[in-house]
């Protein structure tokens, strides 16, 4: 039973370990007063110098949102959120818009450095274009010129609205409509900024596009909006990573991500999410309510979601694929870790509409401490989806006796030629496994790390190199030595 005692110790040790990225950057913010009304939305729209149509679009979303109630079907235990107490706009004071890194507030740069995202270094070494989002406004975009040569547009959402209004107008809200759900409607009404990328026909984006999100100013909700379009035969890989400073108050994040893949296009969207999860008692931490959805509009299009979720107090997130084009492909690979009092209700939806559409779901949930981890997934095969295929595998690993692991798959089949399989298992790291490893000289810590990495391998191998390293580090930090 030494193993389980070790486990408890590890978990305890883990929970006592402070949040490495917990600090607050002291920058004056240009903030909207707390509260949400049509006035707030007009304020945001004016601040961002938006065209009339976008304001109308926001207001339509707001009116829809007012009639909606927060969803309560997820296995989440949270105190109701006071939407009138939050402020819905905050921008770094210097709003003239820096043109280069030199113009960026050094305070900001230092913040990123603490986070391990040295922009310059990345620019030089990693070949990654970083659209860094600080609170609500983009402050630096790199590698833009190289991308522009290929006709690739990669910029902040605000800039896209100004520079490429036709593209934005054509695609915005076509995957996630304004009234899709409570949080998507809220986002549509008050979204501050985000990223926009368009890859023209036949172009293979030569580098991983990347965004780092931060939540900073107190009581500021973060409402990112990402819109990614891969035109016919295009390919793009997009990385998203997040950390946030330590706060005692729950912070709301309601992002919307829309992906559109035309004929033969491929989009790979990878997320490593490490927001502040709250302390051992569950105090503080980010509330993450995200709507992510990709539409395979064209034939043979492919959208692949990979996520490693280690942070947030609450995760409510279901990256989905709408497989409209014939022979289009959807993939979802996920690792979700909950520790202490973290709660995650995450999964995916695969909607098969076109003929010969295929989807794969691999979900790995790890629960430790008092964490609650739920996989919730829908596989739906519409009547027209002849020959659709799906395989789903969701495994849960339990560490400690007070955590929970839940699986809620929905399989809805409307076409007899479909083949759909679902498997799920729940287990713990067995004493035998640990004993075997330790007997061969591995420390308890290394043994757990080895087993957990093996458990997650199927997902981690889907991550781009840059992220795989970070993800493995995160797993180690989250569980290292924890599971003696």
């Amino acid at each position: 039973m030494a193993a389980s005692i070790d486990t408890l110790d590890t978990v305890r040790a883990l929970s006592q370990e402070g949040y490495k990225y917990g600090f607050v950057t002291d920058i004056e913010a240009d903030e909207a007063p707390p509260g949400l009304s049509e006035e707030t939305i007009r304020f945001i729209s004016v601040k961002k110098e938006e065209p009339e149509w976008l304001l109308e679009w926001r207001l339509a979303a707001f009116r829809a949102w007012q009639k909606m109630t927060p969803p309560n079907w997820a296995k989440l235990n949270l105190t109701p959120i006071d939407y009138q107490a939050a402020s819905y706009y905050s921008a770094p004071k210097r709003n003239t818009g820096p043109r280069s890194l030199e113009e960026v507030d050094p305070e900001l740069l230092r913040t990123y450095e603490k986070l391990g995202i040295p922009l310059r270094e990345r620019e030089a070494l990693a070949g990654v274009a970083v659209d860094a989002v600080f609170d609500s406004i983009s402050v630096a975009t790199t590698f833009k010129e190289q991308l522009a040569e290929l006709g690739i547009i990669f910029c902040s959402f605000g800039e896209a609205v100004r520079e490429h209004p036709d593209l934005v107008r054509k695609y915005l809200g076509t995957v996630v409509p304004q009234n899709d759900n409570f949080f998507a409607a809220l986002n549509s009404a008050v979204f501050s900024d985000g990223s926009f990328a368009y890859v023209p026909p036949g172009v293979r984006c030569p580098m991983e596009l990347s965004t780092y999100f931060r939540i900073n100013a107190a009581k500021t909700g973060q409402f990112e909006r990402t819109l990614l379009i891969a035109d016919k035969g295009a390919y793009v890989s997009y990385l998203e990573g997040c950390t946030a400073p330590q706060r005692d108050e729950n912070q709301l994040h309601a992002a919307v991500v829309e992906l559109i893949a035309h004929d033969d296009a491929q989009i790979k969207y990878s997320t490593v999410q490490n927001w502040y999860p709250g302390d051992a008692e569950g105090k503080g931490g980010i509330y993450n309510f995200v709507t992510k959805r990709g539409a395979c509009r064209g034939d043979r299009a492919k959208i692949s979601w990979t996520q490693v979720e280690t942070g947030s107090a609450i995760t409510w997130k279901y990256p989905s694929c709408v497989l409209e084009g014939d022979h289009s492909v959807g993939e979802f690979y996920s690792v979700a870790i909950t520790n202490n009092r973290q709660q995650a209700d995450t999964g995916t939806k695969m909607i098969h509409i076109g003929k010969g559409t295929r989807s794969t779901i691999v979900s790995k949930g790890i629960s430790a401490g008092r964490g609650q981890n739920t996989y919730r997934g829908l596989v739906r095969v519409q009547p027209r989806a002849v020959g659709a295929r799906n395989h789903t595998q969701c495994d849960s690993l339990l560490i400690g006796e007070r955590c929970g692991a839940h699986t809620v798959p929905y399989i809805e089949i409307r076409n007899p030629t479909a083949r759909v399989e679902h498997e799920a298992t729940t287990s713990k790291i067995s004493d035998d496994q640990l004993f075997y490893c330790r007997q061969r000289g591995l420390s308890a810590e290394d043994a757990v790390s080895l087993i957990v990495n093996g458990f997650c391998k199927e997902v981690l191998k889907e991550l781009p190199m840059e992220f795989a390293v970070e993800a493995q580090k995160l797993l180690a930090v989250s569980l290292e030595g924890s599971v003696g």
């Binding site: 296995k75 400690g400 692991a405 798959p409 399989i411 809805e412 089949i413 076409n415 729940t426």
Partner: protein
């Protein structure tokens, strides 16, 4: 007299409020139970498909054309009784249109310590048992029809077995519908098995006409008690069949349940199992064959509150024609219920171009040292198997039937009694013959 109600009533519940009056001459405690249950139902109304528990059942037809209970009785007909029931059954209780039929029943003498009779008779003779039956499911939020049942039940069966009694002969219950009255039949039943006792239950639901059968059965298994239940549902084409059993298992108790669902326009077979004693075993098995416009739902909830519990669930479904079949299963392991071993499997064949299958096998685990898994599959017949048969000169149509039969047969194999198994298979074959693909 029209019932005076002083509680809120949902529109769709209204037709059932006036007709749910208490039976004259019933004791006060029961009248009070009925009244409370009616208030619960009136307040909740029909279950919403937006809620999880009733997500896959379409009850609009029932809402549009209500089937309130009636006090008129259909005639008891002896015809076909032996083809419907189990020939030569020693202990057979027959309910016609929701009421006990003494003429059709055959109640031979049972060993000492066994009480077996109609619910109505038990109200006088064994009020303690009736109270236990009526209280079943009364605390569940999403069971409005169980509340309606508690308020309106006309009769049912009650079986009580004292500790240490092993009944070798099975107890058979026939639930018939005469076709003479178009109404809802609410039956409330109880089987209580004492410590170390053992019993087999065989229940058949069948009838003619348009009716709504709403059946609630409470199963109470004491320590080391064993109950084996086999259910055959072959309701009329236009009938609704909503049946639920609520089981509580004591230490090392064994419950096995098998259900073959073949007939009825709308069929919901639901099992709620509370595995409360250490080392209890719960085996839930079944199969459905839905064709034409049928909709069939199997819903199971197994709650492991004690250590070392074991659950096995295997359900197989076939949806043909424009039928809709659904399986919704949930296994919960509560904190501290270590060493639970639970497995759930839902396998389905979708063979109609306009048919639909939904399956939702759910696990909810709050303890770490458990072995839990589930699997689900939906697909058409295996091409290779079909080809194999075609290559041997078997016509396609026949080959398909053979494979469908084999698919369901596998589930029926769980029934140990050979004679009973053959009977179930014969019914299955008859149903397959009229299958619409």
């Amino acid at each position: 007299m029209s019932a005076v109600v002083d509680f809120p009533v949902k529109t769709e519940a209204r037709p059932y409020i006036d007709t749910a009056r208490g039976n004259i001459g019933e004791p006060d405690w029961l009248a009070q139970h009925r009244r409370r249950a009616l208030a619960r139902f009136a307040e909740q109304g029909f279950p919403s498909r937006r809620g999880e528990a009733w997500r896959y059942l379409d009850l609009r037809a029932l809402e549009a054309k209500p089937l309130p209970p009636t006090s008129s009785l259909g005639p008891a007909s002896r015809a076909n009784l032996d083809t419907i029931g189990f020939p030569g059954s020693a202990h057979r209780l027959v309910l016609v249109d929701g009421r006990f039929s003494p003429e059709l029943s055959a109640l031979s003498e049972l060993p000492a310590g066994v009480w077996f009779g109609s619910t109505r008779a038990a109200i006088e003779a064994r009020p303690d048992l009736v109270e236990a039956a009526v209280e079943a499911l009364s605390q569940q939020r999403d069971q409005p029809f169980a509340s309606l049942n508690a308020a309106s039940f006309s009769d049912g069966f009650v079986l009580d077995i004292a500790p240490g009694v092993a009944l070798d002969e099975p107890i058979e219950i026939l639930h018939l519908a005469s076709g003479e009255v178009s109404a809802s039949f609410h039956t409330r039943n109880l089987a209580r098995v004492g410590a170390d006792s053992r019993v087999r239950l065989i229940e058949t639901f069948t009838g003619t006409g348009r009716y709504w059968r709403n059946n609630v059965l409470a199963l109470r298994l004491a320590d080391r008690a064993a109950l084996d239940r086999v259910v055959m549902v072959e309701e009329a084409e236009d009938a609704l069949h909503l049946a639920i059993f609520d089981a509580v298992l004591g230490r090392a108790a064994r419950l096995t349940s098998f259900a073959l669902l073949l007939g009825g326009e709308t069929v919901r077979h639901e099992a709620v199992v509370h595995s409360e004693g250490e080392g209890a075993f719960c085996g839930l098995y079944g199969a459905f064959l839905a064709s034409h416009h049928q909709q069939t739902n199997i819903v199971t909830t197994v709650d492991h509150a004690a250590e070392r519990g074991e659950t096995r669930e295997v359900f197989k479904g076939v949806a043909a024609g424009r039928a809709h079949g659904a399986f919704q299963g949930r296994i919960t392991v509560r904190p501290g219920a270590q060493k639970v071993d639970a497995h759930m499997l839902s396998r389905n064949l979708l063979i109609g171009r306009r048919a639909a299958i939904d399956t939702k096998p759910e696990l909810e685990i709050f303890a770490d040292d458990v072995k839990c898994s589930h699997g689900a599959a939906v697909g058409d017949l295996d091409e290779a198997a079909l080809f194999y048969l075609l290559a041997r000169g078997i016509p396609r149509e026949q080959a398909r039937r053979i494979l469908i039969e084999a698919f369901i047969r596998e589930a029926v194999e769980i029934v140990e009694d050979a004679a009973l198994r053959e009977r179930l298979l014969a019914r299955l074959a008859r149903r397959l013959a009229v299958l619409e693909e």
